[in-house]
């Protein structure tokens, strides 16, 4: 079974590293593209912590030297023939996306509401008004965050979340050299909005900017 990590341009050297189960990374050239994969006998893919990091590490091994489109976790093929066919089918779109994310990384910003330690509202009406108020605050913060961080990013993507309870999640496509400046900007935002917990993680491979992910466009 073939496990796919990502699609990139042809490499001069095979990537030095391992993927899931510690199996060595291999490459398969398909036209103007190259697939980075590992080969397993009957792999049971489980999205556990170790596998998730292994997948990301494998992608980042390639990302150190050139642009790579990360594959969705768990993408497998019966054999190389199937992999080649799949890459060939989408070759044009894949090449275009590679150009779009070239030199960029993804940063994840999250706005978490602070834990609810408030007293039980005295009336039903108050309950609704409190909810309305925190919903508006969260929306205002999300907009403010988007607006001010957008200037430091190539693109942004607001994760679709119908839930008003959960944290707001925004992905940013940032030039590799602009990560530090971006982090500082998030830090400043965090100090400005102490009642919400802002966090920023990365750099990640650009999972949210390769065309297949769901979520609202910012």
């Amino acid at each position: 079974m073939i496990y796919l990590y990502g699609i990139t341009r042809p490499l001069t050297l095979p990537p030095d590293g391992a993927g899931l189960e510690g199996v060595a990374l291999q490459t398969e050239r398909v036209g103007a593209l190259t697939a980075v994969y590992s080969s397993h006998d009957g792999l049971e893919v489980r999205a556990d912590e170790e596998s998730c990091w292994a997948h990301e590490r494998a992608v980042e091994t390639v990302m150190r030297t050139q642009a790579v489109l990360p594959a969705r976790f768990g993408t497998t093929f019966a054999d190389l023939g199937d992999l080649r066919a799949a890459v060939a089918r989408d070759a044009e779109a894949l090449e275009q996306r590679l150009d779009e994310i070239d030199g960029c990384v993804e940063l994840a910003v999250r706005i978490n509401p602070l834990g609810h330690a408030e007293a039980r509202p005295a009336t039903g009406r108050q309950y609704l008004l409190d909810k309305l108020s925190s919903q508006r605050q969260r929306e205002a913060l999300a907009e403010s965050t988007l607006a001010c961080l957008q200037e430091l990013a190539v693109a942004s993507r607001l994760a679709a979340s119908a839930s008003a309870e959960e944290s707001v999640s925004i992905s940013y496509l940032v030039k590799a050299g602009g990560v530090e400046r971006f982090s500082r900007a998030v830090g400043r935002l965090q100090r400005r909005w102490p009642e919400f917990g802002l966090s920023c993680t990365g750099p990640w491979a650009p999972y949210s900017f390769v065309g297949n992910s769901t979520g609202g466009r910012a």
Binding site: I2, L4, G6, I7, E44, V45, R46, A47, E49, C52, W53, H55, E56, L69, P70, A71, R72, F73, G74, T75, T76, F77, D82, L83, A85, A86, V87, R89, D90, L94, R97, E106, A108, R110, A159, A162, S169, S171, S199, T201, G202, W204, Y207, S208, V210, G211, N212, S213, T214, G215
Partner: protein, 72 residues
């Protein structure tokens, strides 16, 4: 004057070596791994995939709720 210190109840499964920062990073990573990335026409193979069909039906339910539908 005595002060009540609220006790923080930690989930029993917490590994004390885990930093909260690691958790935040893990959550962000998993969100991206499962919902992002290129989807080629391979098989998305995940254990416990049997339940996916039910989830998709639920999603159809959400999108069919009309805006401004009256409450009872």
């Amino acid at each position: 004057m005595s002060v009540d210190v609220p006790t923080v109840r930690e989930p029993s499964r917490v590994d004390p070596r885990r930093g909260a920062g690691r958790d935040v990073a893990l959550v962000d990573l998993v969100d991206r791994l499962l919902a992002g990335g290129v989807v080629l026409c391979g098989d998305i193979t995940l254990a416990a995939a049997d339940i996916d069909l039910v989830r998709i039906d639920l999603r159809a339910l959400i999108s069919s709720v009309p805006e401004g539908a009256g409450t009872g």
